[in-house]
Amino acid sequence: MQEDYILFKWEQGHLVIVLAENLDFKEILTRLKAKTRECKNFFVSSKIKINVGRRELTNKNKEQLIDIFSALPGLSVIEIINENINQEVNQEVKKFSDSSELSTLLLNRTLRSGQSIEYGGNVVIRGDVNPGAEVKAKGDILVMGAFRGIAHAGATGSEEAIIAAWRLKPTQLRIGNKIGRAPDEDDHLVEPSKPEIALVKNGAILIKDL
């Protein structure tokens, strides 16, 4: 049955479309097109999130998906959910030879205590990250401001990921499976005065000038 492959549901005011993982992507596109034609009126002015499960999508695939919906009136795809990042943490260590292959999320604001961002690519933040805030990325994290919170780069296990900030004063840094934290004695801590970068070297997190 067609319904088994493509599932529509309402979740917190958004229309979530879940695509089966085990079906060929081309087939998914064809079925999705047919389905959207079928129930055109159902979609009027909806904000759509597409859940692709653990399927790996190329940028071209994503565009194809978005194209289907942008052809219909009043629709906007606001997010493509990929379950990869949550499920693969702590599982097998996956190698990413080059983080530039990942897509990048640009965030134009400060993250305050209690706020968090999690993204299946690189994250660039134009603002500060305050204590109590968390950034988790599959790739690199770059903060164009003061970083005072918790960062996890290479969240799927890649230890080639880096964390860089204009002023790096983190509560905790995680890269791949490595964890580093600020020393307990505040006295030894020199206030950073230039941009710094954290990376894994010889099995430990090292911070040096950018």
Partner: protein, 264 residues
Amino acid sequence: MDGKAIVITSGKGGVGKTTSTANIGTGLAQLGKEVVLIDADIGLRNLDVVMGLENRIVYDIVDVVEENCRLEQALIKDKRYSSLSLLPAAQTRDKTAVSKEQMVEVCKRLKAEADYVLIDCPAGIEQGFQNAIAGADEAIIITTPEVAAIRDADRVIGMLQAEGLGEPEVIINRIRMDMVNKGDMMDIEDMIEILAIKLLGVVPDDQEIVISTNKGEPIILDDSNSQSAQAFKNIVHRLEGEKIPLMSLEEGFMEKFKRILGLG
């Protein structure tokens, strides 16, 4: 009249929300403004005690939203200023007794009659907080020079921004310049750097506030030149749009700070 509603909030408890609400409200009334104070801390009401109006309460905010009385009946006139009144919280109920929509409605009706509606927010970020900010147009954050208070203030600022109260101002309460100068207390610059919002004022730690709070007489009524009373007066004038420089205790500190950095 079409006044504005300002919520006074902090996240952390015990930093001086209620004391600040009482003092700012009284100060605005001293300038001849029509002011209504709302105690949104249902179940733990305090503002009436700090204002010295506890024994005059007949109806409260829950009676108003449940239509046991008219809004005007629940408003208690201040002993000292006729342009100041208080809408007390209920003591025997809890935060679920009022909904966001009801709060918005109450604020709207009060704003039609007053220049300022000051909402004393409960500690925390749960329903009581959500209710208190629902009807507000602006927000004032109270914090103390403690890491935990700053952390909570930062969290609250983030939540206010999500609710469209994007530009709150902060009052740093209970600062002790002697400790700051010795490096034992966070300094103003550090706090403002993290919170990245406008500083509305700095209130020094003052035993007189404890005394005045217990007596039910806001310190701002005190005509002797207590520094905390002066700090609250400055805050009130800044709210009214005047440009009042920081007090000498703050200036002295700033100068010292600059000297340490080699700027002064």
